[in-house]
């Protein structure tokens, strides 16, 4: 079908490296007009980087990109847009307080705006509204009032508005980053229709997808990325789900032998029954002392929500949690800390560090009350405590008084681990424990987790990196749409099993977790 059509965008020898790590390496990729190209791959395979490079938000380390025959200056989103690249991101950069119409025409004037010098400065509201309505109608979005602020609409509608906004730039290349992940089936169908219409009208579509059935249904060509490389270029006929998963996963990692949870008859440290919260559940789950349980799932499947709800950082709407035999109802994370739970959150900078403060302050944050006497911190005790944590965890630094933001990602993360291990919790919740951490530090962190579990700590670890979970966990539960759809013991581990369950193409067949036993 692409025969004879000219190239909409072409990439030559494009690479992107962060330090020594190459996250993208594409010798050659052409997007033809009239074609929908789907890109699939695991988390971290380089999909977002590819999109970023093409839309100008990421500056490639080497290589050239041409859009409709014209070279794209690297790292200039405005130029990329002018050349005809429009990106619909997963997290939509809409201005919540502005109206739908204002958002749709953000950064440009209506085509039929009043002319003259006045029209350049003054907003022509009627023209803006008219054009916004036309855009929404074209995109098949109904019942949206263009004068209402965007933040008043739920996420699926906002996603549709974002798509209409990209559509409004009349792009040559339309990039859709998991456009349907927050949508119901009807809206998702509309988005796929829109992509087809765009291709039929002579545009090119780059479609990043997680739902493999959807990818197969819409794409004319399927490109598989793994570790930043283009490992397969399939036509839909060849691209069975099995084949795609195999290409995404590559060969299975050689599994290290993991010590089983030290004593067999350990009691359950955490026992969750019918837990619900916003976007979560009902979830049933048991974690025994000394056990490392992994939580796998796609983005937005509720991995982090599960951890945050157990921690009391997100309000619970129903269900029961039993911690160490006692009913547990946290109203604030402080309750969870007092009860013996620790949380290493996903986003280190935003959720766990005091970036401007010393390493000492950061590692003692969760144990301040414990190391103080009658509320008074004694400097000596404080320093000794911090020094012990730093030594135990092998954090490499110049001085405990240096700001933690000076440290490398791995050392920062070890400091955060130290903060919690010093609190001697019974249950440790880990959310992406090795994000932004180099390989050496990763191994050290795995060893820390393993060691802590040997001492009887129960660990619940959510991660988007399957290798990580396969490596360190005794058991993996897979989440999809806020629920647990599979519960795999170590002898049934496999990337394909997990990916299949997480993609949720056969939700009915998946077991509802064996936690009820």
């Amino acid at each position: 079908m692409a025969a004879g059509s000219e190239t909409a965008a072409s990439l030559r020898d494009v690479t992107k490296a962060y330090g020594p790590v190459k996250v993208l390496d594409i010798p050659r990729l052409d997007l033809a007009r009239g074609q929908i190209v789907a890109v699939v791959g695991e988390n971290g395979a380089g999909k977002s980087t590819l999109m970023g490079v093409l839309s100008g938000t990421v500056t490639p380390s080497t290589g050239t990109i041409e859009v409709a025959g014209r070279p794209l200056p690297p790292g200039r989103p405005d130029h990329a847009r002018e050349l005809g690249v429009a990106l619909v991101a997963q997290e939509f950069p809409l201005v919540g307080r502005l109206s739908v119409a204002e958002n749709l025409l953000l950064g440009r004037r209506p085509a039929r705006a009043a002319g003259g010098p006045l029209g350049r400065i003054v907003v022509d509201r009627p023209a803006m509204r008219a054009e916004a309505r036309a855009l929404l109608a074209e995109a098949g979005i109904e019942q949206v009032d263009v004068d209402r602020p965007v933040e008043r609409y739920p996420v699926p509608v906002r996603q549709m508005i974002e798509i209409a906004k990209a559509w409004g730039h009349h792009p040559v290349v339309l990039i859709l980053d998991e456009p349907t992940s927050s949508l119901g089936p009807i809206e998702a169908g509309r988005v796929l229709d829109l992509a087809r219409r765009h291709a039929a009208a002579g545009g090119a579509v780059l479609f990043i997808g997680h739902r493999l059935d959807e990818v197969r249904a819409v794409a004319d060509r399927i490109v598989v990325l793994r570790g930043g490389r283009l490992v397969a270029d399939l036509c839909p006929r060849d691209a069975t789900e099995e084949r795609m998963i195999r290409e995404m996963v590559g060969s299975d990692l050689a599994r290290a032998d993991l010590a089983p949870p030290s004593s067999v008859e350990r009691s359950a440290t955490l026992s969750v029954r019918g837990l619900t919260a916003d976007g979560l559940g009902p979830v049933d789950l048991d974690v025994r002392a000394g056990e490392i349980v992994g939580v796998a799932g796609l983005m937005g499947s509720g991995r982090s929500r599960l951890l945050h709800t157990v921690m009391g950082a997100q309000p619970r709407t129903g269900g029961e949690v039993v911690l160490d035999g006692a009913d547990f109802r946290p109203r604030h994370p402080a309750d969870a800390v007092a009860a013996g739970i620790g949380l290493v959150p996903e986003d280190r900078k935003v959720q766990s560090l005091l970036p401007a403060h010393s390493v000492r302050w950061n590692v003692t944050l969760a144990t301040l009350r414990r190391i103080s006497r009658c509320g008074v911190l004694r400097p000596r005790r404080d320093k000794e405590h911090a020094a012990r944590v730093i030594e135990d965890l092998g954090v490499r630094l110049r001085s405990p008084e240096q700001p933690i933001s000076d440290l490398s990602g791995g050392n920062q993360q070890k400091a955060v681990f130290g903060r919690w291990l010093a609190a001697r919790p019974k249950l440790l919740l880990l959310d992406e424990p090795t994000r932004g951490v180099d390989v050496g530090a990763k191994a050290e962190i795995y060893a820390l987790i393993d060691e802590a579990a040997q001492d009887g700590l129960a660990v619940l670890v959510a991660s988007s990196e399957l290798e990580e979970l396969l490596w360190i966990c005794h058991r993996i539960v897979v989440m999809a749409r806020g629920r647990i759809v599979a519960d795999l013991p170590r002898d049934r581990f496999g990337k394909e099993v997990i990916m299949t369950a997480a993609a949720g193409t056969q939700p009915a067949a998946a077991p509802q977790g064996k936690a009820s036993t």
Binding site: H332, P333, S352, L377, P379, R398, S408
Partner: protein, 338 residues
């Protein structure tokens, strides 16, 4: 990554050992600049005008320092949590009027008048804190309301005329000297020491920094930040009323006009000059005190030098601009090296 962290101490060692860490320590201590500025300004003024370092002038500065310093400390505690309190000056003015009104018009003994006023101020601080934490209102707006209302209350109570005939307790507090040192100055030093102890030596104080530095990280680390924030607003308002006692004692009348007006800006300026970050989470008592002293030295020095008082604000503004620029440059140089 490991190589870079390992290389740092090695580089420090190859440099000459004794001096480098000391210079670095000086560079990394944000308060150094303002303390040095205090010394320089003081010495320069004392050399130029012998009357500047005279006992009478120093005592006068001591009184000033106490009243500005107390609200600067309160203000800084709130700024450390990531908020701001615009009401400190207006509340001080209202406290002066309330106390004299309770004492003179309502016939209450001075102690009761003081207690009642402190209660009212504390309650206001509680309202500020709850509005900021529970209702998630912007601290700027919440305290702006109090700022406006408090000034109105002052006018409404007095109709513009001062209240005279206040009890002797006030002047005992506001005008006494202990071994040539004004009592208010001593009280200020005590409050500063308590604040220092709280911030540097108690876990609650550390948590205040944590909440201001990164509220989400503090929350997920199990810190009840809301309590810390509320208590800092209460403290700020209480310190305003406390400073009001001293001001009333010093003046001897419940003055209806001008007391406390605009003082919140001096307090904020003192905090910023002293190295308190307006984003929250950074700043120490020594800097805040030094910032207040510097402002007072300049203010008083300009009078001593008989410079037209109309120029005072220009100079103070320039000092503030210089301080924040220097702080920014210092932070940037540290960030670059890191």
């Amino acid at each position: 990554m490991n190589t870079s962290t390992a290389a740092a101490p090695a580089a420090a060692v190859t440099d000459d050992k004794g001096r480098r860490p000391f210079v670095r320590l000086l560079l990394e201590t944000p308060e150094v600049g303002v303390v040095a500025a205090c010394v320089v300004v003081f010495v320069a003024l004392a050399l130029d005008k012998s009357s500047f370092a005279g006992a009478v002038n120093l005592q006068g500065m001591g009184f000033d320092l106490a009243q500005y310093g107390l609200i600067a400390i309160g203000e800084s505690l709130v700024i450390l949590t990531g908020g701001i309190d615009l009401s400190v000056g207006a509340l001080l003015g209202t406290s002066v009027i309330l106390m004299s009104w309770f004492n003179v018009r309502a016939g209450l003994p001075p102690a009761a008048a003081i207690l009642l006023t402190l209660l009212i101020a504390g309650a206001l601080g509680l309202v500020h804190g709850l509005a900021v934490t529970r209702l998630k209102m912007a601290p700027f707006v919440v305290t702006l309301v109090t700022y406006t209302v408090a000034q109105g209350v002052t006018l409404a109570i007095t109709s513009g005329t001062s209240i005279t005939g206040i009890g002797g307790t006030f002047s005992d507090l506001g005008q006494t000297y202990v071994a040539q040192v004004p009592l208010p100055l001593i009280l200020f030093v005590v409050v500063a020491l308590i604040a220092w102890f709280f911030l540097e030596r108690t876990y609650a104080g550390r948590q205040v920094y944590a909440v201001g530095g990164n509220p989400e990280a503090a929350r997920l680390a199990g810190i009840r930040g809301d309590r810390r924030i509320v208590s800092m607003y209460v403290t700020s308002s209480l310190l305003s009323a406390f400073a009001g006692i001293l001001v009333l004692g010093r003046m001897g009348v419940g003055s209806a006009s001008g007391v406390g007006v605009g003082w919140e800006l001096s307090a904020i300026a003192a905090a910023v000059i002293g190295g308190v970050s307006l984003v929250g989470g950074q700043g120490r008592i020594i800097g805040i005190v030094a910032g207040t002293i510097l402002l007072e030295l300049i203010n008083n020095g300009l009078t001593t030098l008989q410079i037209n008082p109309n120029y005072t604000n220009i100079v103070l503004g320039c000092v503030l601009g210089l301080a924040i620029t220097a702080d920014r440059l210092r932070a940037r140089s540290i960030a670059r090296r890191g």
